[in-house]
Amino acid sequence: MTSLWHYAFVQQAVLAGVITAILAGCVGLIVTARNMSFAVHGMAEVGFTGATGAVAIGLPPAVGLLAATFAAALAIGGLGVRLRERDVAIGSVLAFGLGLGILFLTLSPRYATEAYSILFGSILAVSRQDVIRSAVTGVVALLALAAIYRPLRFASVDPDVAEARGVPIKLLSAVFLLILALAVTEAVQVVGVLLVLTLLIVPAGAAQRLTAHPGRALAYSVLIALASTLGGLVCAIYTSWPVSFFVSGFSFAAYLLARLCGPALMRGSAPSGTNSQTAL
């Protein structure tokens, strides 16, 4: 790793990966608490449409990606407020978005390479400019998330009481969708459209299995996302296999381990007779 560090492309990839992993680890816990896996997937695929659209008209794919995930966030927020509505709304938006994406792809002069990097990530090809953009996006998203974190968790976990306590539920949903759009854009750069869930859901899912403590869950989620990303980068550089494969492999391994070890760790905190008649 020390010798690799001398290469600019490695430095840039590591920086972009670290920023992405921290953001994804934090956002992921809210995504799982709000049951928004499908929204994340939908946003990423609409992001694909935006990226291919941008390429077709000669703009950088990152611009189209960000514009499309924002548009998807607004569409999802506007079309469906309730959970069941939301699923159908996301399905509808994403199906049409992908159709457009395929059209843009065939119109694009640089068909194959661009499509490949959007679909599966291009972290080892990021430029210095990409890293700066990624850092700004990441910091903005993290600051916004920090500002709304407590009421957002309240609203996600316990919406009825949160609403009664005066928490602005709809505003928080909208702001979170925009933060999520930024996180998806970052994650697409590392693992690609098809694998965003590997950073935005899996580390949080693993962390939840390890602890019920909210602060620790956040720390574990970020650590697992970081370890998967950096581990994936190093392995990919040495083997020349795809980064996305290793990142998804490491995060999945963490998830499996958490599922195996989680029950033993959680038992310490569970009441002795949760399901017994004497429970209350």
Binding site: P151, H213, P214, T274
Partner: protein, 275 residues
């Protein structure tokens, strides 16, 4: 709030939702410290009444006052126990965290809770008998345990008014009694006003001061003995209703009163649906 204004006051208040009148021209006041049960069939506007008091729903006509003022969202003088909902067992939220939300969940930012907040939360968990499972994930607690945590969450801010929406639903009889006692004790100790929505009055008979009946757009309010009579209920439901008293429990015959739960022999103590 003026010293003598009632905790809750409805003045010719009506509520229509989706073109349907839920209740019409309701006028009554709840003095401070009173324990009122709100009783009625499904869809009679019991939950909507709580939403009105919480400032989440406006009345169609008339006036509503909470501590002498118009209802407003996020009123810290109100504690709220919502209808039960299932929590994901994997959610990283402990019983303690849910109670903490009741104190500081609405505040912006992400900082850790203050020492004072943690102390009050711990005290409240002990008070409701939830300290044994305080560190457990909320989604892995039994219904009765979750309701204890809910009660702690609603009381931790020391509210003057407590609004409970069917907190006894799907609890066994012992748990029902425990929850009612917790709330009644609190109401007595702190002089807190309670509005308790239920479709079964029996677990509450020892605790309630008055009963508000909502049915088919009509309403009645009074002592349980006065309101739960064949005469009042027949009038409210617009069809003949009989009320029996068996071992201090009330059995209502003839009205669609109990709602959704099938009636078993051992549940005869509940208001029973008979056609």
């Amino acid at each position: 709030m003026t010293p003598d204004s009632p905790a809750i006051r409805l003045d010719h208040a009506s509520l229509s939702l989706g073109g349907r009148i839920l209740w019409d021209d309701v006028s009554f006041g709840v003095p401070r410290g009173e324990f009122v049960a709100v009783l009625g069939p499904n869809g009679s506007g019991k939950t909507s009444l709580l939403r009105v008091l919480l400032g989440l729903q406006a009345v169609s006509r008339g006036d509503v006052r909470v501590r002498g003022r118009a209802p407003r969202r996020g009123n810290p003088a109100i504690g709220y126990v919502p209808q039960q909902r299932a929590f994901d067992p994997d959610l990283s939220v402990r019983a303690r965290d849910l109670v903490t939300f009741g104190l500081d969940g609405h505040r912006w930012g992400f900082s850790l809770s203050t020492r004072e907040t943690r102390r009050r939360v711990s005290e409240m968990l002990v008070r409701v008998g939830a300290e044994r499972f305080a560190e457990s994930p909320i989604g892995r607690l039994s219904g009765g345990e979750q309701q204890r945590v809910r009660i702690a969450q609603s009381l931790v801010g020391d509210p003057e008014i407590l609004l409970c929406d069917e907190p006894l639903l799907s609890l066994d009889l012992n748990s029902q009694q425990a929850i009612v006692e917790l709330i009644a004790d609190w109401s007595r100790d702190r002089g807190a006003t309670v509005m308790f929505v239920t479709h079964d009055i029996n677990p509450l008979l020892g605790a309630v001061d008055r009963v508000l009946l909502l049915a088919g757009g009509r309403w009645a309010v009074g002592k349980a003995d006065q309101v739960l009579t064949a005469e009042t209920l027949s009038h409210l439901y617009g069809s003949p209703v009989d009320v029996l008293r068996v071992h201090g429990r009330v059995v209502v015959l003839g009205a669609e009163f109990c709602g959704h739960e099938p009636v078993h022999a051992h549940q005869l103590a509940r208001p029973v649906t008979r056609r």
